[in-house]
Amino acid sequence: MTSGRVVLVTGVSRDLGRRFARSLAAEPSVGRVIGVDVVPPRGDLGDVSFVRADIRNPVIAKVIAKEDVDTVVHMSVIATPASAGGRGTMKELNVIGTMQLLAACQKASSVQHLVVKSTTTVYGASNRDPAMFTEDMEPRRAPRSGYAKDVAEIEGYVRGFARRRSDVRVSLLRCANVIGPHVTSPITSYFRLPVIPTVVGHDPRLQFLHEDDLLAVLRHATVEDVPGTFNVAGDGVLMLSQAVRRLRRPTVALPAPAVGSLGSVLRRARLADFSPEQLAFLTYGRGVDTHRMRAVLGFEPAYTTAKAFADFGRSLPPTGGRTDRVLAAVEEQLERGAARPLTTRGAHHG
């Protein structure tokens, strides 16, 4: 058996989890990577050994003990009810799964590091939000349902675990909306709609994290020994209107209740995963301060928010952008006119 860390990664059946586990296995300081999920991953896992186990039941404790795991990376927090098979299952996977996993970690004395992928959704979104949330700020309105509440509960359990096992290094990464050509999430399916519904009169600020940066920051947090809670997001913000214009997609501005009901229709038709907390996000937006990510965690994302969004947008065919084409045509005409001999202008100047 090779020396080095033994890392357990949850949620490897999904694309990002699988890719993360694979890239982690290539790290020199990591000896073995064990991937855990309830269903086998679709793609190639490479050097990662897959264990089919449900983190919702105590079997996971046996896996941790048997494999002598010293690092646990928990990224099985699901944002899309449809992929989990309904909101009830999603909540169970998220909350009960985390509880069981942390209980198992608490028992296993071999576990020395815990990395949890959380999200900036825990800050909520409201009109009373500060412009930039730092790690020690609380949401202005406690989430009452959905993904945001799941994440708030998960973070509560992680804090409890950190209290009880103070010898374990715990890193909690609150990642901004992950975006990229391969990501399926509520926000990417929203931007993939041919006509994008927006809340009339509101223009939220958005921050994105590129999928490659997500994998990089998880790897960084796994390998480096930095405890704490960190906001992770690309530099800068984009306004929703600006983002949509960059995609060259037409928008339709609707009042907030109409956007909500349109969202539930889309969800039922399985066209887009549109959740209530996303409506608040699309109304008020959110920004997080990433100073601590740079100064303490020592991580620098490769993509800014704008670049990450551009990379995501490359995979999408534009469905609008007529105004730009008209303006471009006028510009071209003008240039052609300027290139011609100065007939009109010469005459004018005499």
Partner: protein, 383 residues
């Protein structure tokens, strides 16, 4: 001879159709060359309708017989034919366009127009940068401030004093009195500060601003953020010129009879933000904003229903409808006072409530005194 000229157009010499008598008055009015009879007589309603469109037209071909009752009918027929016959050649369009461009942009119209097009394209493709608060400098400078400037200069004839008290760079907190039912004073302060110092004032707004559709997106784009300690300190640390109106709704929604009486200055949050970041506090006194919408009444029940702090009644609103929203053209005076330094206090001064109250009172007194002085100097409300 008048009768003879009617003939080719109307009824070919025969009397009016179906009547066996004279042609109808409507048909007679269509005649070419006929002197415009004082047709617009009030006693003749159909003619009144028909006359204005017909008079300028000189029909070249005989118009088909017309039903007396359908007097306005010939007009579209004539004009369509005229348009079909002539049209405007493309070269004329081009010439007109070039002429218009020269009129608007001057002789250097081509580069100017190219620049405008580039700007428009940048906007429609989202190729611009906003800062972390959502401030869009380009649109603020080229659109918002440009639209507000005539109001500031021509309508309110704003006179600014004490601009030298605003530091050229670094964080500073402008504290102003608040009045005028609608926060026009904030907008005018933004324009005046930008025009006199070139700096952007970053206003701190109530949470209502960020809840209201349209207003919320405009506020963020023009540089505002929520009035909370976190944002105030963050902006001041970032070296911005931040504007606060600590009276809040108590100040802006006070009745006209209380004009120029400063209300309570909140909880002094702005002072602790300035103390923590060590930036100067610049008191600003605005005279003139109280008179733009004299608030004479309030509908508290409707306000509660709409979730607003008040529903104003002014001498013009809501009686004149949208016209009542036109502010009265009062004469404005803006005076920036001597900055109050906060960098001399010890560490932890922001956590000393007594000190915070004292500084708050000092700023408030200074604004109130300046208000009284300015009121004495002002000749009248509108001049």
């Amino acid at each position: 001879m008048g009768d003879a000229e009617i003939i080719p157009i109307g009824t070919r010499g025969r009397p009016g159709r179906g009547t066996g008598k004279q042609p109808s008055s409507a048909a007679r009015d269509l005649a070419a060359g006929r002197r415009p009879r004082p047709a617009a007589t009030p006693c003749d309603p159909p003619a009144t309708e028909a006359a204005p469109p017909v008079q300028p037209v000189e029909p070249k071909r005989p118009v088909q017989p017309v039903e007396p009752g359908l007097a306005p009918a010939p007009r579209p027929a004539v004009t369509t034919e005229e348009r079909d016959a002539q049209g405007i050649p493309l070269s004329d369009w081009l010439a007109a366009f070039q002429h218009a461009a020269r009129e608007v942009f001057g002789d250097q119209w081509e580069p100017q127009l190219a620049r405008l097009l580039a700007f428009l394209r940048r906007r429609v493709t989202g190729d611009y940068v906003v800062d972390e608060y959502g401030f869009d400098e380009e649109v603020t400078q080229r659109f918002f401030l440009a639209a507000l400037r005539p109001v500031a200069e021509k309508w309110f004839r704003i006179e600014v004093r004490g601009v030298e008290n605003i530091p050229a760079e670094g964080g500073a907190l402008v504290v102003s009195n608040h009045s005028g039912t609608i926060p026009v004073d904030g907008l005018m302060t933004m324009v005046s500060i930008h025009d006199h110092t070139g700096r952007y004032l970053r206003p701190l707004g109530a949470d209502l601003v960020f809840r209201t559709p349209l207003v919320s997106s405009l506020a963020r784009k023009s540089g505002a953020t929520l009035a909370c300690n976190e944002d105030a300190e963050r902006m001041l640390r970032g070296g911005e010129l931040v504007g606060v109106w600590p009276e809040g709704f108590k100040g802006i929604g006070k009745p006209y009879s209380d004009r120029y009486k400063l209300q309570r200055f909140g909880r002094g949050g702005f002072v602790s933000a300035a103390l923590r970041t060590g930036v100067p506090i610049i008191p600003l006194s605005v005279v003139g904003a109280e008179e733009i919408y004299p608030l004479v009444g309030n509908v508290p029940s409707l306000a509660r229903l709409l979730g607003l702090p008040y529903v104003p009644i002014t001498p013009l609103f809501p009686w004149l409808g949208p016209l009542g929203l036109v502010p009265l053209p009062s004469k404005w005076l803006l005076e920036f006072g001597e900055p109050v330094r906060t960098d001399e206090y010890d560490e932890g001064a922001a956590d000393d409530p007594m000190l915070v109250f004292n500084v708050t009172d000092q700023v408030r007194e200074s604004i109130q005194q300046t208000l009284y002085t300015l009121l004495m100097q002002r000749q009248s409300v509108f001049r």
